[in-house]
Every structure is written in structure tokens, then in C-alpha cells.
Symmetry: D3
Subunit: 282 residues, 6 copies
Amino acid sequence: MKNKNISTFIGFDNEYDESKIVVFGAPFDGTTSFRPGTRFAPEVMRRESYGLETYSPYLEKDLENYKVFDGGDLEFSFGNPGAVLDSIYKYTEEILKDDKVPFMVGGEHLVSYGSIKAVYEKYPNLHVIHLDAHADLRADYMGEQFSHASVIRRCWDFLGDGKIYQFGIRSGCKEEFLWAKDHTYMEKYSMNTLSEIVDKLKDVPVYITIDLDILDPSIFPGTGTPEPGGITFKEMMDGIKEFEKLNVVGGDIVELSPSYDTSGASTATACKVLREVVLTMV
Amino acid sequence: MKNKNISTFIGFDNEYDESKIVVFGAPFDGTTSFRPGTRFAPEVMRRESYGLETYSPYLEKDLENYKVFDGGDLEFSFGNPGAVLDSIYKYTEEILKDDKVPFMVGGEHLVSYGSIKAVYEKYPNLHVIHLDAHADLRADYMGEQFSHASVIRRCWDFLGDGKIYQFGIRSGCKEEFLWAKDHTYMEKYSMNTLSEIVDKLKDVPVYITIDLDILDPSIFPGTGTPEPGGITFKEMMDGIKEFEKLNVVGGDIVELSPSYDTSGASTATACKVLREVVLTMV
Amino acid sequence: MKNKNISTFIGFDNEYDESKIVVFGAPFDGTTSFRPGTRFAPEVMRRESYGLETYSPYLEKDLENYKVFDGGDLEFSFGNPGAVLDSIYKYTEEILKDDKVPFMVGGEHLVSYGSIKAVYEKYPNLHVIHLDAHADLRADYMGEQFSHASVIRRCWDFLGDGKIYQFGIRSGCKEEFLWAKDHTYMEKYSMNTLSEIVDKLKDVPVYITIDLDILDPSIFPGTGTPEPGGITFKEMMDGIKEFEKLNVVGGDIVELSPSYDTSGASTATACKVLREVVLTMV
Amino acid sequence: MKNKNISTFIGFDNEYDESKIVVFGAPFDGTTSFRPGTRFAPEVMRRESYGLETYSPYLEKDLENYKVFDGGDLEFSFGNPGAVLDSIYKYTEEILKDDKVPFMVGGEHLVSYGSIKAVYEKYPNLHVIHLDAHADLRADYMGEQFSHASVIRRCWDFLGDGKIYQFGIRSGCKEEFLWAKDHTYMEKYSMNTLSEIVDKLKDVPVYITIDLDILDPSIFPGTGTPEPGGITFKEMMDGIKEFEKLNVVGGDIVELSPSYDTSGASTATACKVLREVVLTMV
Amino acid sequence: MKNKNISTFIGFDNEYDESKIVVFGAPFDGTTSFRPGTRFAPEVMRRESYGLETYSPYLEKDLENYKVFDGGDLEFSFGNPGAVLDSIYKYTEEILKDDKVPFMVGGEHLVSYGSIKAVYEKYPNLHVIHLDAHADLRADYMGEQFSHASVIRRCWDFLGDGKIYQFGIRSGCKEEFLWAKDHTYMEKYSMNTLSEIVDKLKDVPVYITIDLDILDPSIFPGTGTPEPGGITFKEMMDGIKEFEKLNVVGGDIVELSPSYDTSGASTATACKVLREVVLTMV
Amino acid sequence: MKNKNISTFIGFDNEYDESKIVVFGAPFDGTTSFRPGTRFAPEVMRRESYGLETYSPYLEKDLENYKVFDGGDLEFSFGNPGAVLDSIYKYTEEILKDDKVPFMVGGEHLVSYGSIKAVYEKYPNLHVIHLDAHADLRADYMGEQFSHASVIRRCWDFLGDGKIYQFGIRSGCKEEFLWAKDHTYMEKYSMNTLSEIVDKLKDVPVYITIDLDILDPSIFPGTGTPEPGGITFKEMMDGIKEFEKLNVVGGDIVELSPSYDTSGASTATACKVLREVVLTMV
């Protein structure tokens, strides 16, 4: 205890240089219109992750056998989403330059834009797997182009048709569902076709963005806009196992709001999803 | 903003005269013996309903295309259940006289008595579909005839045998289960036979009373007396779709207790059930 | 109940045209860097204000004898503070044009900028009384000029020296305290000199901006950045009584965060301060 | 542990027959119009009282040296306030017949009616000391004569003028304050004159009814209708010491609502007030 | 109400001598490393059990027809786990001597050691059915042999191989899973093989230890270390029905932490599991 | 962000070698008999301290101008208080050997024993200033010698008479108050005589142990055993200023329980006390 106090997610306590995967926090919720609080997720997850084991009986892998680095949280000025996205973009770019894989912990879903953009510039053939309760395909939200409710639409602006695969969607305005028919692959409510899609995407670079509210609020109430009717934790775990077959070049997990997680079960769920996803990537 | 501040459930912001369905709140929990708080449900649901969309991907209908009116909350004097039921009865009667369909948001389950009574007097052949964890068939509760635990029994007093269809029941005293055998149709635990019953009731006027605690506490913890072993949200949604086939002349949704809904997920669930049920009635 | 459901603060249920004072909500907390949640204040205060009486034994006045209008909440797009301030500015301007007195309920303190700006343009000799725990005098906050931590500095930009009177200040960076020596009147910790200042300002137009965190967290824990060492409620009430001597041409009350007010006592306090301040202005 | 599990307030674990003071709970909140929950007070206070010591350094007395009996809670049927008051009346009467002193723990303030009535019938010259934030002097509340807001007025119906001494009152409608001028002794806000009144009442039988919301919400937030501007805990303790000079023939302590006491400090405060008051009566 | 106030679980209000089953609380959580609070479970369960009925529609049995005694809680000195286990051991031994069946309500899982030890000494051929999310098979935890994380390993020390049957296990370090292969029967994640095992154990004395965190956190968030991926309540009920076929000579239910059960649904679940398990034993 | 994520109290982010003061956390609450949770204090305080400024307007000093090191938290095995005290003792000893001043953040009050012991061994003429609501002078607690309720008594075992100065004490059993008369200096309820005592102790080495529950629960509800009747925050600040005159060779601050601090105000208070105390020591 003569060194400064280190705080990382459990098992991600390696050095930057030796690690293949770089996890970092993007504690921003500044465009959240309904109930804010996802800004607290990375910090609370770090702390609560110590209720987990490093060993996954599902994947029969132990984090202790792999090198993952936790870079801490980016610092943001609230009230300026453009600067926030820029800062995420730059840190992601740096990680990619060092030939590492970025994995971001939000924050609200808008943060994915900065990260997906940077990954796309390295991998122009990027495909995105998007797990979510909400379509996030609005052209704009109350006049703002960059919003948690339009983030996937903004990514489409550069990714184009045929690159976005959405699962679990059960909420949106009518226009979003109509628009999706022409521009994305969308499975409503569930992830039953994930396995087929994974087979199809085996040979292309893939980014995985997980809005945790795809989970049913029974297991994941701790989020800004709970949407009953989501997938179970077991369905999530089955989906995650599929990711082992992919070439995942970047990813994120967003929308845990610890303020609404009074029991801590949602945070525990987020931590376990993080552990499992990262273990499929090592 | 030169008009007074209006507060309605999302999408129910039409005028009384143009609307076919009239939604109103009955914020009473005065006979609740265990944990009070359902009095806060209508007000909190109005506010939180703005986390929902007006569009239902399940029914592919949008509230914006229909006329529903929110009349606000009745005002009650606590400590006098008789006067409360009377006030509900009178407002419901008025709605019916104007050839509209009343839909009430409780409050505790006792409030249904006032509403069902008024609907029955317009439709003497009324049948009642009752979703609930509790049988609510006690002859009396601690000497009181009018209680949340005896409300369906009180309705039977005027409806008679063969008119009440109960689903999801998993709690009650032994006498209630025995009594039900002779006087109501009761499916314990689930709603598997709802579809058959709906077929049978296609041509009669039906009142639907939904005690939200029929849902499992995993998805609906925010209620006074949580009863593990309930139905899932998906089972609820499947059931609601059946209602489209019926001639629903009145209904209610009761027993959300926001005080015990620390994450907001129960309120979101109540709001979604309300949206979906109303969309089956338009 | 054939009219739409109205929701106002208790006693502010008059028509716009007949009212001298216009109260409205500015539910914005988008630059809050620490703990958000003040966006919920106006809505929760409206609801909880019904725990109050309309009669003040302190001032021996009853809201029922005066005409105050509640215009509801402005709607904002989060993520764009400039647009938010603009919208506040415009609504305040409109109220002033109709020769009424605006009184805003925040939201975070930044919202005061929009309102004070509009009032200043009508009253170029405007003086501002500022009650707060924090100096809010930063030149910028993490590079942003418009922030809850710099709002009074931004008002100084147009008001100039000798116009700002600060009370209760007990937190800030060193630079803010130094800067204040040359540009504002500042009483640290308390409001002991308020009475003298009020005497001095009797003949000029005054705007009162009350950051409720001037109160000690013992009586007002429900705020984003609680600062122990504040004034008592009785000191606040004594201060408010002084305001009766002033020509108050605008005002606001900000920084209640209901999310951190688990008992409801902070909201009750905010409501009572609102009632009393408005009663000094009628 | 071959006997059934006993649960009493700390130090009140004596037999009925040997005790001079009988404490009991009246867990009723059925006329509470705003925020219910005082029904839980006696049970939660019993449990939490074990955080206290039996010894009071203020009074230098130890509960272990005195005989006090805890009779548990009366059982009520919610929805019938008349029956509730009757049940309290009868149990109090029984205690008085056995020449013991009743001390009730509410519940809402209405419960005091049953107890004061019974004590009055034994002591027709009964004087009542009433500590409260609210006047409780309404002629009726929304048409109901028996309500938490009219309980002291109902007691006046039989006690008459000159028998009621009110302290700490800071909320009520205008009519209550006017009515009080003719019929009760009322000190607003504080208890500064309690000592004089106690001197005056030394030779008459006195009932003490303590609505804990006389305390400032800073120390007592856990109540249904918090009213900022109340007395401090030290002022309360100074007041209680005065009671040692009186002939107290009955009393109660009401309006703790544990649901709003998230820290437990309000319950601890209620327990300490209970310990101290009872120690002045032994 | 001239007798002292009794507090028992609902339906367990019989005399010791007439009862075949003795339920008691072991409110200890002193080795809990992550989030404490299970010490409050027995007391809170007693109180909340009154939200249940005594009748089980699942088993069609009513507690009112059977004799079960609630002995209250053992008193422990925190900071000395050895003394705690000793005290549990002794009380269990006493119950067994009187030819009754002990059923303990924890507390953390370590308490099971004291009880299983005593039961084992009466029944040397004891088999243990262990429902849990965690393996609890560590050789030690941070150097301590007696810990919630090693309790089943400590029981193995005297029970030996082939006596322990574990179900639902989904968390542990790698070594625990490896060790289990040689020394216990372990079904990961579920209880699908419980029925077979029950058939096999029909003729031997069985102890059932239920760590409630075997349940998924969706239905049971109120525990120290929530582990998503657990069994549903219906799976639990199906499992419990199997127990009717066994010769159960002792049991326990542990790890409810009411502090994390903000809705009360976890406590309701624990109470229902307790009612059902006890009803299979009568 | 290529370095590991550092987490320290605000302003304590210097290197060990360059710092004169070493702050560290002792997250232990294993003997807490009533409500646990102080184990979470150091971690939560680190995080929440960023709501503070580094500048103190009270002392007109800025942490940025001084060198303080935060060593993080000691790791403990719960269930073994002896080992915990040993570990604290050793780390404190090490700090002292390096000629630095240790300042510990608890945890429950028992942790002070380890630290005071080590400081005493370096400074045999050590005097202790003890701020607390509770006397902590029991000979033992339920048979255990080392307990939060006996910690000052255990320190007396080696310090002896005339070395311990207690302030604010308002709870204890009768024996503790009697014992204090012969062995310690005790001011009940307040710190009015602190200034005199400080004058007396100017030339001896002093250890300051602050049990934050000396503060009134109005400002500090977030603790295991709230005791109404404590000192105000302003009295605390006046006391702390006195410490500047002393030769403080070690200290601690204990008994914040974040679990009971739902608003965060108690944690903010603890952080401010920590900042101010440390600023008097630089």
C-alpha cells in the first residue's frame, strides 16, 4: 500500500501494453430525455464486479488466464455531446492504432457512435450486431440529430444498408419500424435468428453493441426506460456464446443505470454480461 | 403556455365529447390491510407513461390514431369506503349514459365494485373476466363486507353464478377455493384456458378487471401483496390479444403500488398493459 | 371530469390573463456534472404541494386570495443547453411583455441565465439577490462557458459590477472567492446582512434567485451537491420576510433533486419556500 | 427458546399485573389523506428500539428499574374508523379500570380520540397538552367528522374550552387559527411557554398527545406530512423534562411513518422520545 | 392483551411440546465478505409472513391443521463465528433430543454448519441436498476455514464423499468445480435431476439446505450476492414437491437479505418457500 | 489512459514518499451488532469526495498545496476481528516508521484500536481526543472484549487514566457513565470545553478519533446507530479549527454507513470533515 489505489473491473488488472483488449468507461448520459443515471455505471460496475468470480462455468474460461486492461473512465463535459463523442472517438482510435480491441462501458447509447465510427474507419467493411429493446432509428429526437434515440440511425449514415443487425427490438415509433424494413435486419422481441446471422457474418469484422435493456426488466430493472417483454438472462447467455465464432473488432455495453438498481441485481447482471462477452473475445 | 397545465396518460389527450373510451383514476387504498400505496398509481402512471411510445408493435396500432379521454382522478374521502364506491358508481354511470366505455385505473381492487355495478346495470347479462393472484372471494374480511379481499364475492352477489371467469389465482384461504368450485370458473396459476373462454363469451358484454398482481413479482414487484408464482409478461400480452375478439363494455386495472416500485419497472409494466388493453378496445 | 385533467402547484390554479405572477417549470439538468435529477423537481413539487395548506401563518396570507398562474413546464431537448436557455428567455420575455412577473422553478441553476437575461433587458438597472451554497462564479467549467458552476459569472457579463448580492456561499474554488472580492457582494455561510442589503435595494428592480442548497442538508438533503454548513429553515423564512420590502420583478428557485429526497421533506421544504416567496410578491 | 417468541419495546418486558404503565400500539392510518404508513410504526419501533440503551443520561433513570408492560398491537379492520376508535376506547378503559396509565403508540393522530375519550371519562377535569405541527382543529375534512385533521376539534367537543394546550403549531387553514383564538391555548412554532403552562396544570390530570411532526423534518423526516420549521430535538427533550412535574394520566405518541424513514433516524428519534416520556411518568 | 406480545411466523404459533417441527432464526452474517444484511431475515420474514395465507393451493394443505413451533431467534455475539456455530449446534441438539425436527432460518450460509453437524451426530448416515447458486466448496476463504464460501466443504469434512447433492450451482472458482467432480454430486444451473436423486435417497435421513440465491435474481434480488441465471420460482416449487417423498430430519433456508429487497418480493418469496417446505415435512 | 485507473479521495493523489500524511481505509464492520454497513464507507467516500472542492473557505487552505497520500483500503477477512486489528496495527506501524502521520477512515469504531495501539507505541505519552455519541467504555459486549462498544475501554487498558478526553457522549449503559467518572474526561452532549482541553494538550502528542455519530442525525443520519441530540455541523467545524493548535500524530474518522445515507448528505458531511481535519494537520 505504498502505491496509489488502483480500481479496475475484476480480472482486468493488467498493463496496457500486454493486453489485447482495452476496456474503458464512457460515463455520459447527457441526452437522456427520461431518467438519467447511466453516467454512474462504469464506476459502480467496477466496484460491484468483485461480487463475481473471475471464472465462468459457462465458457469454462478464467479471466486470470487472459490479459485485459481497464483504462478507467473518460472525462466529459456535460452539456456538449459533440465534444463527448469526439473524445470517445479519439481514445478508441488510439487503442485501434495499438492493434488492440476496444470495449466500452456506457453511459447512454449515444456513446456508441464515437466508438463505432472509429472502428469503422479502421474496418470499412464493418458489420454491427445491435441488441436492444429500442430501435434507436429516429431521424432526430426533438430536433437533435445526436441522441440516444437516433444513435443507430446516425451509424447507418456511414455504415449504409445491410450492415446493421438488430435483435430484441420491442419499442419505437411507427416510422422507425417502417424505416428498418428497408435499411436494417431487425428481429423483434427475441434473438432466435442470431445463430443464423452469426454464421453469415463469420468472415467480416463485427462490432457488438449491447443495450442491456434488451433484457427483460424482471432481470434488468436498473435502466432508464424499462420495457417489459424482453429476453431472459439465459437467452442472453446463449446469444453471447455465439459471439465466440465471430471476428469481434470492437464492442460496448450500455444503459445500466445504477440509480434504479436498488437491489444491485442489475449491476451484477451487467458485470456478468461484461465478463462473458470479454471471455468470448479473448 | 397560456393555458393551464394538462396532465394525462400518454396518448389519452383527447376531448371527452370526441372520445369513445374514458379512462379515469380511482386513487383509493383505504381497506388495504397489509401495505398501502395503490392510491398513488394513477398519478405516477400518468407521469411515467411518457417513457412509453404511443405505438404498439404487438398490435401494430398507434394511440395517436384513436380518441381516448383521460378524465383525471376522482377525489375521495379516506375512511369511508361506502362513499368512495358511490362516487365511482356515479361517474361510471355518467360515462355509460354518454355511450362511452369506462376504463378505471385503481387504487386497490375494491374500487372495481363501483364500476362493475354501474356497468352491470346497463348490461344485465354482464360477464366478468378476472385476472388476479388472489381469489378475492371472502364472505367478509375481519367483519367488513366491502374489502379488497371480498370484492369479487360482492360482485357475485348481483352477477350470480356462471358469470365470473377467474385466471391466475394462486392465493386465498381454503374456503375461497372451495366456494369457487360452485360459483365461478377458476383457472389456478395461469391463463391457458383464456382463449377457450373468450370464444365462449364472444357474444355477451364483458367487463375485464385486471389485478396486476396476477403477474409474477419478478416483473411486477410493485404491489401490496406480491405473490411469487405468477404469469410472465409475455403470457399477459398473449392474453390481452384475445380481448380484441370480445365486446368489452368496461374494464379496470388495479393494485400497482408505486411505493414498492423502486426501479420504475412495475409502473412501466402497468402503463404498457394499459396501453395494450385500451388498444384492443378501440 | 369532462374537462382534461389539470395539474398545477397548490393555489396557482388561476387563468393566465387574470394573474399578476406566472410560475413555470424549467426541468433541465443537462450540465449537472455530479448527480443529475433536478429535471424532476417541477413535476414532483406540483404533486407534493398538496401536502401544504394555501394559508401561511408566517405571513398571515392565503394563496386563495391572490391570482397566480402555473404555466406548466417548458419542453427541452437535452444535450443542447443553448437551445434550452433560448427557450426560457423567450417565455420569460413573453410574460414580461404582458406585464406579469415571471417566477421559474428549476432544474439546475444554469436555467436562471435565460430568465435573468430577459428580465434584465426589460429592467436595465436590475439587481440580483443570489442565495446559494456555491459561488457559481467560474469563468468556465471544463471548458464550457454555460454551466451550473458559472451561471452567476455569465450573468455578471451583462449585469456588471455592483449588481450581484450573494448570501450563504460556502463552496467554490479559490479563484471564485478572490474574484468575488472585486465584482460582487458576498456574505459567506449566512444571510445576516440581508436586511441591510434589502434596505439599500428598496428602490431598484430586483431579481431573486434561490439555489435551495443554501439550506443546510439537514433540512434539504435532496439536492445534487449537498454542502453541510448551510442556513436553517428559520433563517430562510426570516430572509424571505425581508423580500416583502422589495420591488421583485422576477425570480426563481432551483436545484431540488427529488431523486435524493427519499423522505419527501426536501420537496416539502421547496414547496413551502415557493409558497412563501410568492406570497411576498403578491 | 421453548417459549414462544416475545417482542416488546426495549425495557417494557414486564408482566401486565406488576406494571403501572401499559404501552400498546394502535397501527391505524385509514383516514390519512396524503401519504399513509403510520400503521407500521409500533412494529418497527419495537424492533428498532434495541438500538437504544435502557438508561437515560438526561433523566439519569434506567428502564430496568421500573415496571412497564407492552401489550402489543390492537388489531383493526381498515375501512371502518368508527370500529377502530371503539376498539381503542375499550382497551384504554380496561387499563384504566386496573388503575394503570395507558400510553398509546400510533398510527395516525385520529387514534388519540379513542384514548382521550376513555381517559376523560375517568378524569372529567382532564387537560390535554398537544404537541403538533398541525392544528387538527377542522370542523370536518372533506365531509368526514372523524379525521386526522379534526381530531383535536373532536376532543374539544367533550373537553370544552380552556382544556387544550397546543404547542408548535405551524400549519392549518385560516379558520383553524381563528377558531383556536377562542377555544384553545395555542403557541405557534415553538414550546417556549410550556414551562408556564406546566406550572399552571400541576394539580390537574393531564393527557399528553405528541404528534412527532412537531419536530423539524431535519430530525424527523419520517412522517406523512413533513412541515419544515419545527422544533429541535433538544427543545423536545427540554419540554419532556417538564412533564415530570405533572400528573400524567394518559398519553400517546403518533405519526411516525417508517416508510419515509429511509435512514432509521426518525424511528430512533421516536423511540428515544418514547423512552424519555415514559421515564418521566414512572 | 394482558399477555406479552408474541411474534411468530404465520401459522407457527403452537407450543413447543405439541409441535413436531421447531423453526428458529439464526440471524448471523458475520463472515459475509460482500454485502451484509442476512441477519435481518428471520425478523423481517416473521413480520411479512402475514401477507401470506396459511393455506397452500399447491399442496392443498393448511398450516392451521399442523403443529409447528417458532422458537424465535438465537442471540449471537458478532465477531466470533465459532461461538455462533456452537450456539446453533447446541439448540439443534436439544430439539433433536426431544424428537423434533429442526428447521433453521438464516442468516448467511455458514450457520448451516452448526445445524448439519448436530443432525449428523444423531443420524450418521445423513445425506444433504444443497440448493445454491454458489458451490461453497472452498478449502478456505482468505485464510479462514469457517466462511459462507466454504460451508459445504466443512460439512464434507465429516459427511464424506457421496453424501452431498448440489443443485443450481453457477458460481465458484475453478478449483471448486474440479473438486466437486470427485467428492459431491453437482448439477450445474438447474434441478432437472432432483427427482432421480430423491428416488435414490428415499430411505435415508436427509437434510435440506436451501440457499435462496439458487433462485434467479429476477424473483429473488434480495440477497448479498445476486447471480443471474438461476432457477424460476415454478422450478423451485416443483422441486419442493419432491421433498414430500423424503425422510427429512432437518433443514434450513438461508441468505435472504431484506436490506436489498426494496419491494418486499424477495421476502414474500422466502416466506412462501418456507411455508411450502415445512408443509412437505408435516 | 494507458495507466491503470487510480482511485483516491479528492486531493489526496500524491505519491507515498513525498507525503507527510497517509490516509487509508479500514473497511471492517464485523462486530457491529445492530446495523452493519460501515465497511462501505472508504470506497463510497472516495467516489463522492469529487462533489467537494479541494479548497476550504473555512481554513482558507487548498488541498492542492499540500502532499497527502491515499493508500487505498486494507483487505480483511471478516469473522476474525483479531486478524483485522493486527493488520491495521502493522500498516500504521509502517507509516509511523517512515515518519508520516497515519489517518484512517473506518469502518466501525473497533478499528481505532489497531491504529491507536501502534501510535501509542511510538508515542508513549499519547493523549486521545474522542468525539462520539457513545461512550464505548463497556468492559465487554456479550462476552467479547473487542467490540465497537468497548473500543475506548480497550485503549484505556494501555493508555491508562487521564489520557482520554471524550466529547458529545449521549448514550451508554449506566456503568459506562459511572466508570468514566474515575478514568476519563467526559463532556456529555457537546464539545463546549474542547477549547480548554486543547490548550492543556498543546505540548503532548495527540490522537484524534472521530466517531461521526457525535453529529446529530439531522445532518448525519447515515450511521448504524443514530442518536438524536448530537452536535451541529457548525459546532463540529468550530471544534476542528481547534485542532490546528495541537500536535496530532494520528487520527481516524469512523462509522459512516453509506447504506443508510440515501440522500448522500451524510457521505458529503464525512468527506468535508475529512478534508477539514486533514487540512488542520498539514
